[in-house]
Subunit: 500 residues, 2 copies
Amino acid sequence: MTKLNRRSFLGASIGGALGASGLIAGEACARSTPVPAKWDRTVDVLVVGSGFSGLSAAIEARTNGAEVLCIEKMAVIGGNSVLSAGGLASPGNDLQVAAGIKDSPELLLADMLKSGGHLNNVECAKVVAYGALDAYRWAKDFLGVKFDRLGYQGGHSVARSACYMNGNGANMIGPMTKKCREIGVPIETRTRLANLVVDDKGAVIGAEVQKGYAFPKENSGKKVMIRARKAVIICSGGFSQNVKLRMLHDPRLGPQLDSTNQPGATGDAMQAAQRIGAADVQMDWIQLGPWTSPDEKGFGVCPKFVESSVGYGLMVDPKTGRRFVNETGNRKVRSDAILLTGHPAVLLVSEANIKHVPPSTIEAGLKNGAIRKFADLGSLAAAYGIDAGALGKSVARWNEAIAARKDPDYAAKIFDDTVPNEGTFYACRLWPRVHYCMGGLAINTKAEVISTDLAVIPGLYAAGEATGGVHGMVRLGTVSIADCLVFGRVAGRNAARRAA
Amino acid sequence: MTKLNRRSFLGASIGGALGASGLIAGEACARSTPVPAKWDRTVDVLVVGSGFSGLSAAIEARTNGAEVLCIEKMAVIGGNSVLSAGGLASPGNDLQVAAGIKDSPELLLADMLKSGGHLNNVECAKVVAYGALDAYRWAKDFLGVKFDRLGYQGGHSVARSACYMNGNGANMIGPMTKKCREIGVPIETRTRLANLVVDDKGAVIGAEVQKGYAFPKENSGKKVMIRARKAVIICSGGFSQNVKLRMLHDPRLGPQLDSTNQPGATGDAMQAAQRIGAADVQMDWIQLGPWTSPDEKGFGVCPKFVESSVGYGLMVDPKTGRRFVNETGNRKVRSDAILLTGHPAVLLVSEANIKHVPPSTIEAGLKNGAIRKFADLGSLAAAYGIDAGALGKSVARWNEAIAARKDPDYAAKIFDDTVPNEGTFYACRLWPRVHYCMGGLAINTKAEVISTDLAVIPGLYAAGEATGGVHGMVRLGTVSIADCLVFGRVAGRNAARRAA
């Protein structure tokens, strides 16, 4: 009886763990939920998450013959993917061909490794680089996603991003959910993965989920035990919205920082995988966007304003009135520098230097108050509480750099059409937001999850932002979308082909 | 019976896991060993590892009243610490006072955060910075460690490293083992932690160890169950010698790279903690030494040759005959650049420029063959298979930089006494070695281990290189020793004071 009691206790303590969204006091040990006497439901493949990677995995598993269930803890389908404002990096796509741009998987791989500081899992990066074109064709031809233009993103050698209509992620999630309906993949929202169930051999055979879960209410929903004959696939995205978890890995990223992500990006499905032994990798590489303003919500309009103003205007620390970083440096350089000052920076640019900012952006920013217009530098200084003398000196020195076409202080780029900053100014405050998690669950090229003992965990797959290794230190824009589609499909295919 | 059978199976599968030194195929899930019906032995505190952190923890736990057992899997006491060639960073130590050097914990903390890229767990870094002086006094006055000089290490604002005699780590391990004997702390070598045992509440209550373990024989030794009434403390060092584990986190660090560490630095005790749910942090920050030569073993004499030659001579890629990196850049900059070429670099310096290299170093290097002497540049080029024309151009351009006292290509430092490189040359080949793991088990300021669910794991502590967070991206020289003593003592004290 003692032993049986202990087993019962284990079950109870995991029931308790369920209640805490991964922020549990008291329950510490890695354990799976006991195998139930009776399952409430049985499928072949259970997909956790309904963003690009989850729906790709679900569709691919279904088209490979598996009975699939896709669960989504939030009330709406699409996760962060519906917020995506990008495209799909795919070397050799027809938009490139039409534009006469030469590209290759090798070149994409080289760009990924360079940007990733060569910390990438090279074999996994190869899977994405060599699989991206097929993923694009699959999205276009099989799913019917409409791509309307070729986009260029910093860090890529060439323009290679096939952009879905209006650069709106919903225009890819839409065709994906339609395909799910057509081929018979139910997507059940408000259903959260609470714990994975493993068998005697350590293989994942199912999950305990909360049906009717009302994010963020920890104990909401009804406990349902789902058997997965073949596999569970974790496609739950990153953890940008989980302040405690991101602080464990990068202690700078406290509650003083918002995130551009949807609120459900808390990483709790990833933690469920860790409770049964999954390893994580490179969790400390969390990308911040340096171009968000504390004066507007979410992504806002400031990013577009900022990216069209750097190399023209200057950014100062309002406490000193001085520049403190290369304004044309990469996201990490700028975010780190702003964080280090401990307060928002001020970007200022004269009216003659905003020629590349879309007028609609200025208009929207002036309307929501995140961008402000000033008749002269003095009124700008007064508005932001900057020492006017110090600011005047900084602007004069930056104007000298513009005249010399060389920045002796921070080596910022100065463009051919950059002119001295004087007269009327536009300005905004900038404070980084947590944007993307490069790290996550350790996987191999088959999308199988690896344990902390470096073994494959049978029956457990993962794809997309929930995984780590593909991008190394820094992800390139639109390669995450390729990652989601390519590895989502790899996971779905391998899960479906697994012996039940 | 079904349930009981499953329990038995769990036990068996963990017995299997025991055999694999953390590289297990098939056994994947995080599980602890079942509580035995009968323990073979009982202590208050079990310390795993006998380096600086382990012995500090053991001594402190004992002097706080606990019955302590220290186990060491290797045949000798001391782990990597006996290889340490440094000292103890301790702001305000008497050697600094005698030298008239002003220092403070605040200044050490600032240096740690700067070097750590502010990725440090600031609260844990503070524990080290503010505790280092007391740790030094404890070592000197209570243990009787002799410190014979003040050392300076790159990245520190001032000289603050109290060096144990001859900069030999054995001269601190010796007094520590003597103290253990005096106060009654048995240190049992050839005894390996196989698995931790947790109770129903997830608290660590003991361990399964292999007594008579013969590294690296996986299944060697006899299984012994040790109850730890109060706590287990993991002080097992890093994983620089575990190629697969380091490649999981930094895929560049394959078998083509040796390590400066003792062979037992494989991280398997850390993995045992992970099997019961411990989180790791910043595992991808692994420090390489750029100054080791493939032409000699271990640490060798080349590091001293190299560090006294940079800023005087130049380093080239033998495939191109050209410079490729700032030779006076930090360890990471240089190591990353050499790794990226894919083969050893060649450092060359003229006889007139080796004035700061100890003659004994040159002598030892010439004797073991790692350093070579050439009458002229042509014979050097021929010996290393470098294109003589390209090498000649590189040396000429570097000599121009010396004349201008400014390196236009890589901004390397050029010293006041650097002279043009010509005539007789000394040279060596350089290929980095894996040196130190900044990452490891997640702990809090009490040295309690944190789970992947962000909870404290009751009864489990860790200290030293087995933990992550104190150093952030890059550890400063001799701060690791302060970390070991300070956090070893914190762990030992808190473990001893814990209710049994």
